[in-house]
């Protein structure tokens, strides 16, 4: 087993498109690292550089203690699962899994042993002789995973492996991937733009935007203490409400004239200066005596919870509450919030203005 480390890795495509702008990252041996970010942020590019499918324009990629910049994909000791599975259409499931081993001259009985074992783990034993065409999307996904497992690689790489599956299967496969990774203990790097996948799968969550890392941390760290406004609004659903406010000093800010106390606030902010206040829809409580008042425009039903959409201090605002807690026909809500759950951001740099 081996960890992966990236040192100021860059990718410049033809035509001077800088897709990855100097990313440094350490991934511990055996951990599950998820790269998440909006479309086009360079996460696939980064993964493909680790796989050796793209040349590295700058910096250094290490797998274990070995710099792999100039090493062929087949010799990097990695396995990759693609979004469209990329199974060989003309080969049986068995041959799809065995192909990589055959190419590296593994003895026949060893190949058979490994394929059978992987098939058992993934519950695909009954269709080893079938062609991929005769499999459902979920089964193909398993075969693609099987192809990765039989190689016994140092690192698994996943590029949005679940996005071609329907919602229910996606949840099921997500759990299976997590279980499998735990059982095998292989370092895994997983690319997705689905934040639920990102939160649930990762030991280490890497949020990317515009070819750069915005924040690295455990999923709960990233959720509780987003370092930038981008991360704050990207992680969490529905996204965090961002309201324009002013610094009042003494751990207080005001939003549209309504005052709010904040526990994580940088010292020495000039009184009266502009600031952005972030409140998660699920952190806000509606009650009789709140600090903030909100006008409700409409309500969305999600079953277990309801989303109240409206305006607060002139900006759009969403409140999430368990169904029945707030009367669905409420026109005005009085909101309170734990000072620990208020996030402050600099309007210019968009960085968090928390305690140093």
């Amino acid at each position: 087993m081996a960890g992966v480390s990236l040192d100021t890795v860059r990718k410049i495509y033809a035509g001077n498109v800088e897709a990855v702008k100097g990313v440094s990252l350490g991934i511990e041996d055996g951990s599950f690292c998820v790269l998440v970010g909006p479309s086009g942020c360079g996460k696939s590019t980064l993964l493909r550089m680790i796989a050796g499918l793209e040349t590295i324009s700058g910096g250094e990629v290490k797998i274990g203690d070995r710099v792999v910049n100039e090493i062929e994909p087949a010799d990097r000791d990695i396995a990759m699962v693609f979004q469209n599975y990329a199974l060989y259409p003309h080969m049986s499931v068995y041959d799809n899994m065995a192909y990589g081993l055959k190419n590296r001259k593994t003895p026949k009985d060893e190949i058979e042993k490994r394929v059978k074992e992987a098939a058992r783990i993934l519950a695909i034993e009954s269709f080893l002789e079938r062609k991929p065409r005769a499999l459902s999307g979920g089964q193909r996904q398993r075969v693609a995973m099987g192809r990765a497992i039989v190689r016994k690689p140092q690192v698994f790489l996943f590029d949005e492996p679940l996005s071609n599956l329907d919602a229910k299967l996606r949840v099921q496969m997500r759990v299976e991937i997590k279980r499998l990774q735990r059982a095998l203990g292989v370092t895994s790097i997983y690319v997705t733009h689905d934040q639920v996948e990102a939160m649930t799968l990762s030991d280490k969550l890497v949020v990317m935007s515009g070819g750069q890392i915005e924040q690295v941390g455990s999923p709960s760290e990233v959720y509780r203490r987003p370092e930038t406004r981008f991360v704050a609004t990207f992680i969490g659903s529905p996204p965090m409400n961002i309201l324009p406010g002013k610094v009042e000093g003494n751990g207080r800010v005001s939003i549209g004239g309504q005052s709010l106390s904040v526990s994580d606030m940088r010292d020495g902010l000039a009184v009266g200066s502009d600031i952005e206040v972030g409140l998660r829809p699920e952190d806000v409580r509606a009650g009789a005596t709140g600090q903030l008042s909100m006008n409700v425009d409409f309500v969305e039903e999600l079953g277990a919870t309801q989303l109240f959409h409206g305006k607060l201090g002139g900006a759009d605002f969403i409140v999430q509450a368990p169904t029945g807690q707030i009367a669905a026909d409420a026109k005005q809500l009085s909101l309170s919030i734990d000072p620990a759950n208020v996030h402050l951001f600099d309007p210019q740099t968009t960085k968090r203005l928390g305690k140093a």
Binding site: E72, P73, A74, F82, N84, P89, G100, R104
Partner: protein
């Protein structure tokens, strides 16, 4: 509504049937003529049911030939045509699949230029470049050889284009998965591209075999020896004899024989089409 459709169907089938009759009748006449002796054909009142000369005609045609015009048995001509058609079909598939592989999967300087040069040859069929081609073949001493018959007809872009279009529909991830699975450029070609190309190869084979089989102008130019003539040339010679009566029964028998191999190729290759269509999926 249903009635209406019924009548429309009947009408459609009627039109199709008439079309088939128009196309098939001359073929039927040729087959018919191959079963009569020369006198019956020439007197202009050939019956519409087969005669009793088939055995005699086919034996003479295959093993003796038209005594006054071609002077070679038709079996020899068929062999020549067959070698030429197979050579063109196989040679073309080889060249096309390799060049398409290079153009699609390798990044080399002037790749686009290379592709466009190949593309332009589409506008230069043999008939257009016939003089320079003849000169080159003659200078290489390839007149009256199979190589001379085959080589110049292999060089054209249809096959390359066909394979290129097909390769471009194969997802890049398949190549990448192969790379990770430790398959180099050649293995990827052999283990993945070739099996996936079976249908395309079968299609190209049929087209090129018939194209080669039906060649007229080129063999006419570069073959002078009797034992190098192809069956198409043979038919032509049988029909235009200057000093004697045309042996119509032999000419018609030859025409029927000339149809047989292409028909077999189509029937045989059809299996691959179906197999290919069922088995591959991108």
């Amino acid at each position: 509504m249903v009635e209406n459709r019924r009548y429309r169907n009947i009408l459609a089938y009627l039109v199709l049937a008439v079309g088939v009759l128009i196309v098939a009748f001359p073929v039927y006449l040729a087959i018919l003529a191959s079963t009569f002796d020369a006198a019956t054909i020439i007197n202009g009142n050939m019956p519409l049911v087969p005669g009793d000369q088939a055995g005699e005609n086919y034996y003479r045609t295959l093993f003796i030939g038209a005594s006054r015009s071609t002077r070679e048995p038709v079996s020899m001509m068929m062999l020549n045509s067959f070698i030429m058609a197979m050579g063109i079909a196989i040679g073309k598939i080889l060249i096309s699949i390799l060049s398409a592989y290079a153009v699609v999967y390798y990044k080399f300087p002037l790749r686009r230029t290379a592709f466009w040069i190949i593309f332009i040859t589409l506008m230069l069929p043999v008939e257009v470049r016939i003089y320079p081609t003849y000169k080159i073949v003659a200078d290489l001493g390839l007149l009256d050889t199979y190589t001379g018959l085959i080589l110049p007809l292999i060089a054209s872009a249809t096959g390359t284009l066909l394979f290129r279009q097909f390769f471009m529909t194969i997802p890049d991830e398949l190549l990448e998965a192969s790379k990770i699975d430790g398959a180099g450029a050649f293995r990827f070609f052999k283990d993945t591209l070739l099996p996936l190309s079976v249908t395309t190869m079968a299609a190209l084979f049929v087209i090129q075999f018939i194209y080669g089989w039906n060649q007229y102008l080129w063999p006419l130019l570069i073959t002078t020896k009797d034992n190098m003539q192809t069956i198409v040339i043979g038919i032509k010679k049988m029909l235009t004899t200057q000093d004697a009566l045309t042996e119509w029964q032999i000419a018609m028998t030859t025409a029927v024989l000339a149809m047989v191999p292409p028909v077999f190729v189509v029937i045989f290759m059809q299996r691959f089409f179906v197999k290919g269509l069922v088995e591959t999926e991108k």
